[in-house]
Amino acid sequence: YMGLSIMAYFGDFSFLDDPQFGLPDFYGDGLPVGAYTSLAEDKKSAEEEVREEFLSEGLCIGLPKPDANIVLPYLRSSPEKTKLEKYSKGTTTLAFKFSKGIIVAVDARASMGTFIGSNKVRKIIEINDYLLGTMAGGAADCMFWERVLAEECRLYELQHNEKLTVRGASKVLLNLISQYRGQGLSMGTMVAGIDISTGNNDLFFVDDDGMRIQGDLFSIGSGSPYAYGVLDSSYKYDMSLDEAVELGIKAIINATFRDSASGGVVRVYHIHKTGWKIIHDALDVSALYHEKYGIQKNHLHLH
């Protein structure tokens, strides 16, 4: 060390010449655009930057938006048709909270008008070990976006070392769907699950209209009025697991009995303190219905 050392120091002051220097809002995104880091040719357009930031924040994935030229005329030509299509979410799904957790019960029919496509569809989507989503409306829409939700939940868990709660997950799903509001998505879905760190379970209804509500009991689909009838008349918070499963099954089979767009098999899941469990994977609804009510409900009076 030589005491006073005078050094000729040539610093790079070219940043002062940069036309971008001194622009306001350089705290805007935390990534300053400076002469040190990029050449003029490398600078992205404002739109691209916004898009990239959007992508990196995980709020949306980089899907191309549906072409307005195709979608809008369809929507405009028959507004009534789209409304009807919305209500003809040919299915019955239900979920309710009770003292021992949440019961989620669904049917398994996929129909296109009067054509029954399948009686064995899986309408409960296992998002992860502690979250379930139900499907009503467009099967592809539900399945796809709930898969994206699963990805988002997993990324959140990896990035922040904590599991995303049901509340957060349902909001993320809503954020994803809301970007396509009015463009033809058809989804009526429930997000049900347990927050393992606090032990609280939660149930949310998320809709392609952009609605998201928390609740204790929901039923979605064309068979929901019938399911609601059964549920509302017999629901109690204090039920044993068996009673609750029976109630869920009863509601589904009564709905499938009266609604042609619902049927097939009934699947029942139970969400408990540490995750979810399949109670019934496939119970044939018509066999079950006749077993429970067949003899009493034989109304045919043949002359």
Binding site: S5, D12, F13, G30, T37, E162, T165, T198
Partner: protein
């Protein structure tokens, strides 16, 4: 030596460190000198102590004497970030202000995206991420701030995080930042126990701060937070009475002949550092 310069010479009167003027360059020994110097800036800030107890988190800060004509209340050290989060910074006041503004915004954006309160870990990580960016990108200087971030999670557990100008963050039971923080940390290591009650915690914070405040002035500010409650700033009279209690309870003075470690006095009227 860059040949792009058209602006002339800078004459430096210190040990030759041609790597210390630019943040984004490592030195041959592997240092980022600007980051190291940022730590020095933190040491010039007033001391802040944070302690986690059984059911609360307590922040205590050394309050510097205001110039006579200045009206109190404009320079803050303890910031409330959200209903369940608070932060105390040590270092450059302006940097602290910008940091808290960005963090408050992030809390609300998180609430909008996820419809729930951000966890303390998330916010601490966010602050740390922001600090780290300024050590790597753009050639701008790092934040001259260390911060203690405290709050409660959904699990109702108290949390205390420390973030540093380098962008590192860590979880602590008790910590101190700023001027003379080393003395305080030594005391905390000796006296901290798991499962302290709230009252014991407040006394420990006061004891820690008494190590560093200007004797005779004893000016300090204490704020605490309990689960599901917002930040509460203790009243000055309450703090003063507790200081008296703590001073009475303090252990007797050292044996004659022992030389106490001298407190480093520093110029506290420099308003850039707080």
């Amino acid at each position: 030596v860059s040949t792009q310069s058209t602006w002339g010479l800078l004459i430096l009167k210190r040990m030759s460190n041609r790597y210390d003027a630019a943040v984004t360059k490592f030195s041959p020994s592997g240092h980022l000198f600007q980051v190291d110097y940022a730590f020095e800036a933190v040491k010039r800030g007033a001391c802040a102590v944070g302690i986690k107890t059984k059911d609360s988190v307590i922040l205590g800060v050394e309050r510097k004497s205001m110039p006579k004509l200045q009206e109190s209340g404009t320079i803050k050290k303890i910031f409330q970030l959200d209903k369940h989060l608070a932060m105390a910074c040590a270092g450059l006041t302006a940097d602290a202000r910008m940091l808290t503004q960005r963090t408050v915004l992030e809390c609300q954006q998180y609430r909008l995206t996820y419809d729930q309160q951000p966890s303390v870990n998330y916010i601490a990580k966010y602050v740390a991420k922001m600090k780290q960016r300024y050590t790597q990108v753009g050639g701008r200087r790092p934040f001259g701030i260390s911060s203690l971030i405290m709050g409660f999670d959904q699990t109702k557990e108290p949390m205390l995080y420390l973030t540093e100008p380098s962008g590192s963050y860590s979880l602590w039971k008790a910590s101190a930042i700023g001027h003379n923080a080393k003395n305080v940390t030594e005391l905390l290591e000796k006296k901290y126990k798991d499962g302290l009650s709230h009252e014991e915690g407040v006394k420990l914070v006061i004891e820690g701060l008494l190590e560093v405040v200007e004797s005779g002035n004893k000016n300090m500010e204490i704020a605490y937070m309990k689960n599901d409650e917002k930040l509460i700033k203790m009243k000055d009279e309450e703090v003063k009475s507790l200081i008296e209690v703590v001073e009475k309870e303090k252990s007797p003075p050292a044996a004659p002949g022992a030389v106490p470690i001298p407190k480093q006095q520093h110029n506290m009227t420099n308003l850039h550092f707080y």
